[in-house]
Amino acid sequence: MLCGSRAEPWPSNSLTFLPSDAIRLLNSSLEQDVNDALPLGIEPLRSIDAVEQGLSEAGYIANRQISTAIYMAHHLQKPILVEGPAGVGKTELAKSVASWLKLPLIRMQCYEGLDESKALYEWKYGKQLLYTQILKDKINSVIGDADDLATALDKLHSFGDVFFSHQFLEPRPLLRSLQEPGGSVLLIDEIDKSDQEFEAFLLEILSDYQVTIPEIGTVHALVPPIVLLTSNSTRDLGDALKRRCLHLHIGFPDDKLEAKIISSRVPGIDGRLLKQLVSFAQQLRALDLKKVPSVSETIDWAKIMLLLHVSVLDVDMVRDTLNVLLKFEADIESAGKQLACLTHKARQDAGVA
């Protein structure tokens, strides 16, 4: 039913609240969008609940906002910009979506100096060179009967740009995600680490799912990929980029959600230990630390506790393993003073005497 409603042209009278010229512009682009066949064949994305369940089957415990975001991203055909502190599962979300939908995950890690030859495409120089060498002998048969240079050139021109065609194109992540026949999940990781120029370069692919290669032309996506961008907010992203994306902020989970996440990632864990661990981590996050423990660090800690066959937290044990949760000497020191208190509280929360 959703598919049916989307196929209808956009009712323009619902947009009367906008400046008229903007409507006209945007309307035309929208109509184009809708008319382009929208492959909504990804059946599992039929409702928000289905997304939530699907993600949990893939091992990702999502809250309502996260599943709404994925659902909307698919139906609105828009990228999601995921922001939040390190280690709350931003990258993991993309991986889980891919594994749940059984789509290939194409990951592009951003860094300073990343440019289009690494992100989009590059010519296979070696292959081009090799082919020109091999074809050297054939050149005579092509231009052999030409009398002068002009005719020879004309003949060569008639062969077109053989060396600048798809065969000699080395697709990089962005192009690859557009060329996947069954669709894909494109993860653009840590976009805030890239340069501003690169951010501007991304706009075309994010808004229209197409890229322009000067020698070939514009490449459209076969199936629009599900695009996730992650950012740790080391710098403010441009408004143009934000405007094109849905914005999802993932914060630290509350104790119930965190418990669910850990028990799904560390299957054999005892319920009471789990409660203690979660309570302890949540307390640590309330302290004034340089870097508070992330969910992934809590998971690591839980694994260690499981290996050590711990069932009740005690101060010495916590002190020995604290470096799993806290990564700065100063943090360990300042938390170390309160360990007894924190551990006691954690045991109380879990109902362990």
Binding site: S5, F17, R64, R243
Partner: protein
């Protein structure tokens, strides 16, 4: 046609969101409409999450959005001690006498309007009353409310449109009959009208918050930007701090970018070879060495003496902000003598930095000559022909030797000197002001006593510096 019924509440909500300070572009408005089309209005939490994804793009905006959403979609619960079943609302809407469109039939025409309001009140049909109130409010143009003084006006208009006058006439008629039954009924309705008035006042207040909050904020900010810095009151300090930071960030984003320029004549061999691998190393395309243009080098000297004490808070605040934004900047504070404060500004949070600087050197009587001499002794050698020197101060040295010779040497060494003076031009040169003695050595001397001045001056500096 699916989105058509949704468009009206959405349009109003977008207006509210913009009012609350969210930046909602036309494209995002369309996205919101499309999103709404998919999820519909059925589930409130889903609706909230969905619109939040589309409209709010930073954590700050998320908070604003949450507030606006809750305020806007909070429907009018008339104070009631029992839960109102949904069906009631539906039933009453089918009733022609209580349908809201009739209820809003006009002011004082009697007939159906008054009857409707009367019967609504008598039946205590809260859901229908709420609908009628919404309708009346919309007709009264509630979204144009801007100031709290308009509250009573709008409350009155809404009541009128709900048919209060006709009801009052009816009640008058009841009283006239003089029968105990008529009197009792009138009294009963009086009580009900009082309750209705209260609900409407609440309703208007909520709408004022909704529609006018952003405007009021904007109005205050505009005012603050052009107010003299020395006149700004204590309670506006926080707002001011935010404004200063915004401004510094804006300026920095615009100018701190490193720009590249080709330095012709130097071939980058390594990158040329790499670039031309495809042609067997034959250099079809040459790559030239690029040199990054240096960011503006700025030295700021800020007067923190008693005479400019009211100003120096903001000057220091601005210095702090710009210090955060530009990397190559050195800051100095002076009164009787001069110290470097770059490190304090860099390491401490803004509040503490300012207090620390003020306690180190602030509030004394200023001695410009002495301070400039200090600068020459300690830091003159760091001044190069690329350095822009900004001096913030009133040039009142309490009749001490102005040491214009130091400024002369400084102007020869530096790229330029810019003097920003918080005093009006008419006061320059009067009393102990040495402004006109320093002026010949400065490339630019200008009055700077509001945030707007400051912004313009700094923009000019940065524009020329790059």
């Amino acid at each position: 046609m699916i989105a058509a019924p949704a468009s009206e509440p959405l349009r109003r909500f977008l207006q509210v969101a913009r009012g609350a300070g969210l930046k909602v572009s036309a494209a995002e408005g369309i996205d919101a409409a499309r999103a709404l089309d998919i999820v519909g209005f059925e589930d409130r939490t889903v609706l909230k999450d969905t619109l939040g994804l589309v409209l709010a793009k930073t954590p700050d905006e998320k908070a604003l959005y949450d507030e606006a959403f809750d305020l806007y979609f909070k429907r009018d619960e008339f104070s009631t001690d029992r839960a109102e079943p949904e069906e009631d609302a539906e039933d009453s809407e089918q009733d022609p006498f209580s349908s809201p469109s009739n209820g809003s039939g006009g002011d004082g025409m009697g007939g159906q309007g008054g009857q409707s309001l009367g019967s609504l009140l008598a039946n205590d049909d809260r859901a229908a009353l709420a609908t009628a109130m919404e309708q009346a409010a919309r007709e009264a143009g509630i979204e144009n409310i801007r100031f709290f003084t308009q509250k009573n006006l709008y409350a009155r208009r809404i009541l009128d449109r709900m048919g209060l006058r006709a009801l009052e006439r009816d009640m008058e008629a009841m009283r006239q009959t003089g029968t105990p039954e008529g009197l009792g009924r009138a009294q009963f309705l009086d009580g009900r009208i009082e309750a209705l008035r209260d609900s409407i006042r609440d309703f208007v207040e909520r709408n004022l918050l909704l529609f006018a909050k952003g405007d009021t904020e904007k109005f205050r900010e505009e005012l603050l930007k052009s107010a003299r810095l020395s006149n700004i009151e204590r309670r506006d300090l926080d707002r001011m701090r935010v404004l200063v930071r915004q401004m510094a960030k804006k300026l920095a984003a615009r100018y701190a970018k490193t720009r590249r320029r080709r330095l012709r004549g130097q071939l980058d061999t390594r990158r040329t070879l790499r670039r031309n691998m495809g042609w067997g190393g034959i250099p079809f395309i040459t790559v030239w060495k690029q040199k990054r243009i240096e960011k503006p080098r700025v030295m700021v000297l800020c007067d923190v003496s008693g005479s400019v004490a009211a100003m120096s808070q903001f000057l220091l605040m601005f210095m702090y902000a710009i210090n955060e934004a530009l990397s190559d900047i050195r800051s100095f504070a002076f009164a009787g003598s001069l110290i470097e404060v770059s490190e304090i500004l860099e390491k401490e949070p803004v509040e503490e930095a300012i207090t620390k600087i003020m306690s180190l050197i602030g509030f004394g009587s200023s001695n410009y000559g002495n301070s400039f001499a200090d600068f020459e002794d300690g830091w003159m050698r760091h001044v190069t022909n690329k350095t822009t020197v900004i001096i913030l101060g009133d040039a009142r040295g309490n009749r001490t030797d102005p040491r214009t010779d130091v400024i002369g040497r400084l102007s020869q060494r530096s790229k330029r000197i810019i003097w920003l003076n918080p005093e009006y031009k008419s006061a320059w040169g009067t009393g102990d002001s040495d402004m006109y003695r320093y002026a010949p050595f400065c490339n630019l001397v200008s009055v700077c006593n509001t945030l707007r001045h400051l912004e313009r001056a700094i923009t000019d500096i940065l524009e020329d510096a790059t």
